[in-house]
Point group: C2
Chain length 208, copies 2
DNA sequence: TTGATTTAATTAAATGTTTGTTTAACTTTG
DNA sequence: CAAAGTTAAACAAACATTTAATTAAATCAA
């Protein structure tokens, strides 16, 4: 799990190219060229194109699970604070790593890329953690009963991913074409997380 | 725009394969085999693999724009009824045509497939129609002011697409593995559209 | 520290498939 | 009998991966 500079160049280049052109449309030649290494280095270090994409996923998924669990178990903060922080952290993470998250979306859609089982296993664990947190908040009387937690998670993930993956359509539709990529990213983080927090608060803590 | 049986077989096979394996991972040989036609027929009828995918998009997009406009302009129904019908019709359409919608999602993510401009143009028109409808509802006092319509549309589209494209993950997480594909589809249509209607109603017609 | 020897890193070239598209011959149809 | 439909075979280009040769780095006894 420890990579040298050349391996990191390959991982970064692959993530970028897989994200914008897709796994199958990206040749190992393209990756080697983008990373400025010889073609054979990819087989030498990672074995194959398939194993390369697996390495990318394993690295990121592990880190996210850790962040999430620590955040929701932080009992120093109120349930509402922790929920807001969940939304904001998730949105920030997706908007901040568009390349990786586009890869992830594509891998879930595609049935033939080997990492699908890995992703499902991770989804399940993440869902359990969030469900446990919200149930705890319900028992302590902060959150409403009768919440469809799975649907809420799907709204969080679906909305955020959709806005991220079509952000340039969004930019044009909002007349924000004067913004730089970084400015757009900041804008999307604040607007998306505020929108979602409002939406969820309406069913989480207000009466029906 | 009028296709014979052989052309329809090709279109259907291509839609299915592009959806599950992606554009680049699907060879014209695969399509020819799935459609049970000779390889050369694809070039003969559609010119190229690129023009084949364009034909698929043009056919579907035109039909959806027509349905939507007619529905929202039907002044015999109340604003709330028309809004509910918008949500329900959209969800039904996405869940009912997973192949095509997976293709659409992928095309938006991928920058190199030629249909991206076509999709953006369509998105813009659809957004204008929905915006005009909601503004009308606001002026007649049915809907709240200060709505971020673009964010709402992104939540509708993002949530629905996400649930559709990860429906088998969803099925496992909900312990619904005993359902057939058709039963699952029915379940997803009703649950997703009810969830979204509730969510939107909380910010559309209830006070802040 | 030196020099011998092994290991790891790197390369250009070659390998054998698979790709999208075309061709030229053949059959069916109006 | 010409036009449209259909086919198997052929095409060059691009593909992922391997090979064999070369260089750099590491190891270690003297």
């Amino acid at each position: 799990m420890e990579y040298n500079q050349k391996q990191l160049s390959i991982l970064e280049a692959a993530e970028k190219l897989f994200a914008s052109h897709g796994f199958h449309a990206t040749s190992v030649r393209d990756i080697a060229h983008e990373a400025d290494v010889n073609i054979a280095m990819i087989s030498y270090y990672f074995g194959s194109k398939e194993k390369l994409i697996e390495a990318i996923f394993l690295k990121r998924i592990f880190a996210w699970k850790l962040t999430l669990t620590e955040m929701l178990h932080n009992s120093a903060r109120s349930y509402v604070e922790r929920f807001d922080s969940l939304v904001e952290t998730y949105v920030t993470r997706v908007m901040g790593n568009p390349c990786f998250n586009l890869m992830m979306i594509r891998a879930q859609i595609q049935e033939d890329i080997g990492v699908n089982d890995l992703i499902h296993e991770n989804k399940k664990e993440v869902h359990e953690v969030i469900k446990a947190f919200i149930n705890e908040g319900q028992e302590s009387g902060v959150f409403n009963k009768d919440l469809d937690i799975l649907m809420m998670v799907n709204t969080l993930v679906g909305t955020t991913n959709h806005i991220m993956s079509t952000r340039h359509h969004f930019q044009r539709l909002s007349n924000l074409e004067h913004l730089s990529d970084n400015e757009l990213q900041e804008y999307l983080i604040s607007h998306t997380s505020n929108h979602l927090k409002n939406l969820f608060k309406a069913i989480l803590i207000h009466e029906a």
